[in-house]
């Protein structure tokens, strides 16, 4: 191990007093606090960090930011491992364990790199071409392709980390903490506005950490950064979020931010989430997202050691690391001169400064010459050498039009190349906001044009190329945003800025090589997806000229970096290809692909947050839940409710328990927790009229103290809910709904009341949870209730079926309904929820001598099916009318109107061909049909067969001593007596059609 042999002796903002040990691909290295994994690797002279996706070519660190296409790292192990992290964004910490990806058996010798030699067999669109021919080979291809083309590895088990989400509102959200963003925050913050400034890095100040040649008000730029950050930190209404990426920009200025809270800590405290997703509603947004430098597209421009010139400057100035000892600079603009000068000043040898421009001039060019740097104007790099790291380049003179090279090649030894192809504004957030972009000749890239949300772009993401413009635009946008949200404040004057002036750029979208494109080395455009300039040409030739087609055909701009460094180069090359064929076609006509969230890859866990495990969905329980648990009940989910399903005795199966429970309910006394049914209090002089309109039957003449069953329809005539509603007094009703339909019915009633019948004097209030309900049934239930209820006369005459009484049960004030869902004599006792458990326990105690038997929802289903009572949602599915249920008796013929009435007269609703409810009795009485099974008239040897209906409910009925089923069948009751077939896998069951009622056909039992 050679140590940090590329670390500069001084300078940088790393903490040299805090050395850190880390591991990369099993080897130990050292770095400092303040390093990224990338800067620490470079400090150790490590450039080779990965293999490319398709060709497995050796790749090095190309950038110093989130645009990194190459340096993708697998971090951590076990279920805490994270694939595809960018080394440029991983903060170094002690004990960090990192590994390269997409290589086997190791990074330096990778078997997959054979793909590079076979590249002629993997042209652009290779993946799609495998779909086409020969078709039978696809299954073979797919297996091989998927194994070969993986990047990192996903963890196998459950994510052990904690993730959270939070909501936040603010007046001004500023995305980006560089000079423009800080200026905006300062201007807005000084007005007292609620400001959030978010930056994905660890330090606010952006480019000022790298561009040390700038001064603000005569002092180093970083002095201004420190003073500004200190002022912002002192403002109570300003929130500065670092290590936080603005990932998405949605409608109504709703943005998501992903904050990495503990990723940099190594061992995180248990009480903190690893990451937090912020859901921000901002009144105004200022986008100060910066710009990303473009690589140059020259032959074999992908060797390790070749990086962006601005990144090289960042490594020098911020991290005190030089990318090489002999650095070649290749540029089409002035900015790379700053890198060369910074390196030169630190004693790094500049092997040459190759400038694509024929006659570069200006102060930076002069400074380079004065420093003795060998500048090669009008030259191009035409070849690079070096297996695992660049070792030399060849340069040649460009022709005047830049389309070719002339003369002889000259070789220059180097161990790093710093390239600069100009700057691409980071317009992702702007574009996600819906804003329209325009092509700017000034920067040769897309810049924000028309905003559609309350948002402003400032600084280099807005096409500004100088620090002074960034600061001015930021200050202006900050004060304007604050003023727009109602704050007052003075304009902050822009400081005096000293920075090197920059002149023109020469865009050569493809730097010519010694041979025609594709014949001497690869001109990489998209480094992550191994898309070359030749691939873009091929796609154009094959007709994939739309930029969206180009993306899908070549995979250009896909992957974890989403083409941050490659998109502009690719579409400019496409523009050139098209321009040669189509007059007037250029890059501005090519357009751009869609910018989609998230801006950088995000952990799925952050989007799930705490909505996992017990928090995935609330579990609702009744007041008697504790008793059911103690009794060993099995539970089933009914919506969000947890209901007792059955109460098995030791050794009992579901069927045995249910048979016993049903028998007890029919022969003795059974008790059911019926709390979950929806309950609605309806009051007002028009309450009866209201019910008359929402139910199909008549309600006006229902006497106080009496109850009635009702069916509720949607406007389309389909059954939506049912239940018993009782008239408590002249103007007050107690409605019950199905368990699952409770919330929907309340909303439905409110909607009709508010929007259609505002004239009705009626108020509706949910009381579902006010009441705990114990439903008792069976021949002995009246005797049992009489013991506990001294103040209600329970005799048939005094308290007839379908009535309600108020009284006292077990000393608790109760509403007692005499209604029945089992067909037996039955009472439903409602008490305030707090007394539910006491009521239940009292019933169980007093019922002991009657062998009272608690029964669950399964027995309830059997009991009701024996009687032919429907369950909405089981016999119905939103396409079933009352007539389909053979319940025409409940639809009033005399009422002027009710919801759904008009639809019931539609031709296909009255058609004789509709599926209608019938009973089915299997030929084998022990055969229980599966619910949902399809019914046919004639069985064919194999599907398809004409299906005429399906089984809706099916049980073994202990009361009938055989199986029973209900079904919706075409023709319905007209088929009674027919035998139909239910073909299943491996067998066919035959069943006879009957009335959908199986027990107590004359309904005598309800009277006890």
């Amino acid at each position: 191990m050679s140590g940090q042999n590329h670390r500069l002796a001084n300078s940088g903002s790393i903490d040299r007093s805090a050395p850190l040990k880390f591991q990369f691909d099993g080897q130990q290295y050292e770095g400092y606090k303040g390093d990224t994994l990338a800067s620490a690797l470079l400090a150790n002279g490590v450039h080779l960090v990965g293999r490319s996706f398709k060709y497995h070519r050796p790749r090095g660190i190309m950038s110093a930011g989130s645009e990194e296409p190459n340096a993708l790292i697998q971090l951590g192990d076990g279920n805490r491992t994270d694939p595809n992290l960018r080394a440029t964004r991983i903060e170094l910490r002690d004990g960090l364990v990192a590994a390269s990806q997409n290589r086997w058996p190791c990074l330096k010798f990778d078997v997959g790199s054979v793909n590079n030699l076979l590249h002629r067999f993997f042209p652009a669109g290779f993946y799609y071409k495998t779909f086409m021919w020969p078709a039978s080979w696809w299954l073979k291809y797919e297996h091989w392709i998927r194994r070969a083309a993986g990047l990192g590895k996903a963890p196998q088990g459950r994510d052990p980390d904690r993730y959270e989400k939070t909501h936040r509102h603010c007046d001004v959200l500023i995305v980006g903490g560089g000079p423009a963003g800080l200026a905006a925050a300062l201007a807005a913050g000084r007005t007292g506005a609620r400001v959030i400034l978010v930056d994905e890095g660890t330090l606010l100040g952006g480019s000022l950490w790298s561009d040390l040649d700038c001064t603000i008000d005569g002092a180093p730029g970083l002095d201004w950064v420190r003073a500004t950050v200190a002022e912002l930190q002192a403002m109570p209404e300003v929130t500065l979020l670092i290590r936080t990426t603005a990932t998405g920009y949605y409608d109504h200025n709703y943005l998501t931010l992903l904050e990495r809270i503990t990723d940099h800590l190594g061992t995180a405290p248990d009480h903190l989430p690893r990451q937090r997703l912020w859901k921000i509603r901002a009144k105004r947004v200022v986008l100060a997202a910066g710009a990303i430098e473009r690589p140059l597209v020259f032959a074999n421009n992908d060797r390790p050691g070749i990086m962006l010139a601005s990144a090289a400057r960042t490594y020098m100035n911020r991290f005190a690391v030089t990318p090489g000892r002999r650095v070649l600079v290749l540029t089409n603009n002035d900015d790379a001169y700053r890198t060369a000068l910074a390196m030169h000043a630190q004693g790094v040898r500049i092997a040459g400064l190759v400038d694509l421009r024929a006659q570069p001039k200006g102060p930076l060019v002069a400074a380079a010459a004065a420093a003795g740097i060998a500048v090669h104007p009008g030259q191009a790099v035409v070849a690079t050498r070096g297996a695992l790291r660049v070792s030399s380049v060849e340069i040649m003179k460009l022709t005047a039009d830049g389309a070719g090279v002339t003369g002889s090649a000259r070789k220059i030894e180097c161990d790093a190349v710093a390239m600069s192809g100009g700057w691409t504004p980071t317009v992702h957030m702007f574009s996600q906001s819906g804003g329209k972009l325009r092509w700017s000749e000034d920067v040769s890239a897309f810049v924000p044009d028309l905003s559609v949300q309350a948002e402003t772009s400032v600084g280099s993401c807005n096409g500004a190329v100088s620090l002074v413009k960034c600061l001015k635009q930021g200050l202006k946008a900050g004060i304007e945003a604050a003023r727009a949200t109602g704050y007052k404040g003075r304009v902050t004057a822009a400081p005096n800025v000293g920075e090197p002036p920059q002149s023109d750029r020469r865009d050569l979208w493809v730097v010519p090589g010694k041979k025609p494109l594709g014949h001497a080395g690869k001109h990489f455009v998209d480094f992550q997806n191994d898309v070359t300039a030749a691939d873009v040409h091929l796609a154009a030739r094959e007709g994939y000229q739309s930029i969206e087609h180009l993306k899908r055909y070549t995979t250009m701009g896909m992957g974890t970096d989403q083409g941050k460094t490659s998109n502009i180069n690719a579409l400019a090359i496409m523009g050139e290809v098209l321009g040669a064929n189509v007059p007037g076609a250029d890059v501005s006509r090519v357009g751009h692909t869609t910018f989609r969230p998230p801006y950088t890859p995000a952990t799925i866990g952050a989007y799930a947050g705490r909505n996992i495990g017990a928090f995935f969905d609330p579990v609702r329980t009744t007041a008697m839940d504790f008793w059911h648990r103690e009794a060993g009940a099995k539970f089933e989910h009914v919506g969000q409710w947890m209901r007792a399903w059955y109460y098995p005795k030791p050794g009992e199966s579901l069927r045995q328990a249910v048979d016993r429970e049903v028998k007890a309910a029919r022969d003795g006394v059974g008790i059911l927790d019926a709390t979950t049914l929806g309950k609605i209090d309806i009051q007002g002089p028009d309450a009866a009229e209201f019910l008359n309109r929402v139910y199909t039957n008549v309600w006006l003449k229902l006497a106080p103290g009496r109850a009635r069953y009702g069916l509720m329809l949607k406007e389309d005539g389909m059954v939506m809910d049912d239940g018993v509603t009782a008239r408590l007094s002249e103007n007050r009703f107690h409605m019950t709904t199905t368990t699952g339909g409770a919330a929907g019915v309340l909303d439905w009633l409110e909607e009709w009341r508010q929007t259609e019948w505002p004239d009705l004097k009626v108020y509706i209030t949910s009381v579902t949870e006010q009441w705990a309900v114990a439903s008792i049934c069976g021949p002995d239930c009246r005797t049992l209730l009489a013991e506990l209820c001294p103040d209600i006369d329970l005799a048939n005459d005094a308290f007839p079926f379908m009535s309600v009484r108020e009284g006292t049960v077990a000393g608790i004030a109760a509403r007692v309904f005499r209604i029945s869902f089992t067909g037996e004599l039955s009472f439903e006792i409602n008490v305030p929820r707090r007394h539910g458990l006491a009521l239940w326990q009292a019933m169980m105690e007093a019922g002991e001598k009657y062998d009272i038997c608690p029964y669950g929802t399964e027995a309830m289903h059997v009991l009701r099916a024996e009687k032919g009572f429907i369950i909405v949602g089981q016999e119905t599915d939103g396409t079933v009318t009352p007539s389909d249920l053979c319940m025409d008796w409940i639809v009033s013929k005399t009422k002027v109107d009710f919801v759904g009435k008009r639809a019931l007269a539609r031709r296909d609703i009255v058609s004789a061909d509709r599926k209608r409810l019938v009973g089915l009795l299997t030929e084998d009485p022990n055969e229980v049909l599966p619910e949902g099974a399809q019914i046919v008239e004639a069985v064919q040897p194999e599907p398809p067969m004409a299906m005429i209906g399906h089984v809706t409910s099916s049980y073994y009925s202990p009361s009938c001593g055989r199986s029973i089923a209900m079904a919706l069948v075409k023709g319905g009751p007209t088929r009674i007596g027919e035998t139909l077939s239910i073909p299943l896998a491996g067998k066919t069951i035959r069943a006879v059609v009957t009335e959908p009622r199986f027990f107590d056909l004359d309904g005598e039992r309800a009277n006890g």
Partner: protein
């Protein structure tokens, strides 16, 4: 959800949280303080705000006018009258006072179009207090709770995590009374405890 079985304290009626709330106590410096307000009276009061007879009658019975400003609460002694709709209020009063209040309202409102529904058991109240109370709510509630926007006397009907709630802020700490349907209370209690983890949670009796 794992239930911690803690029985109802002797002499009290059960609440939905009896078997959910763990031991009373917690760090003194906790940023989050939780407690259940057992069996406070809750009446839904319905009536038309432009009906002078109704407003006069309600004001007489309650001792304070039902608030007309949306999402605010009027208070008189320990009673809060929370605006929940243009013609709907939720009257929250000391445990055991609801029946008397209901009759007082019924007689004061006789002859007006109104409705009173006792919903004392329909929901329970979780009191959330502490320096981090706002941050805890922000984890599950999309409403802006910044003191410039939402302060003492204001109320909201919204979702907190996956539960429908009504809450009102009643002091500057800030402290909130959160009304949640009885069957959702165990979920919400567990959620609040979890959301408070990073700030420290103290449970009070």
């Amino acid at each position: 959800m794992v239930e911690k079985v803690g029985p109802t304290p002797p002499g009290l009626d059960p609440t939905p949280l009896d078997r959910v709330i763990g031991p009373i106590g917690g760090p003194a410096e906790a940023g989050v303080v939780l407690s259940e307000r057992r069996h406070w009276g809750k009446l839904v009061l319905r009536g038309e705000p432009d009906d002078k007879k109704f407003i006069t009658g309600a004001t007489k019975a309650l001792g304070v006018a039902p608030p007309s400003k949306p999402n605010t609460a009027a208070t008189i002694q320990s009673t809060a009258i929370i605006w929940t709709a243009p013609n709907e209020w939720l009257v929250v009063s000391e445990p055991g006072t609801e029946a008397a209040l209901e009759s007082a309202l019924e007689s004061a409102l006789a002859g007006t179009h109104h409705a009173i529904t006792n919903v004392s058991d329909h929901s329970t109240i979780i009191r959330l207090s502490g320096t981090a109370a706002r941050a805890v709510l922000a984890k599950g509630c999309a409403i802006d709770l910044h003191p410039r926007v939402f302060g003492v006397g204001q109320s909201a009907q919204t979702n907190l995590a996956k539960a429908q709630v009504i809450f009102r802020q009643f002091d500057e700490m800030p402290s909130y009374d959160i009304l949640v349907r009885a069957s959702f209370a165990p979920y919400l209690w567990a959620w609040l405890t979890d959301a408070g983890l990073e700030f420290g949670v103290r449970v009070e009796g």
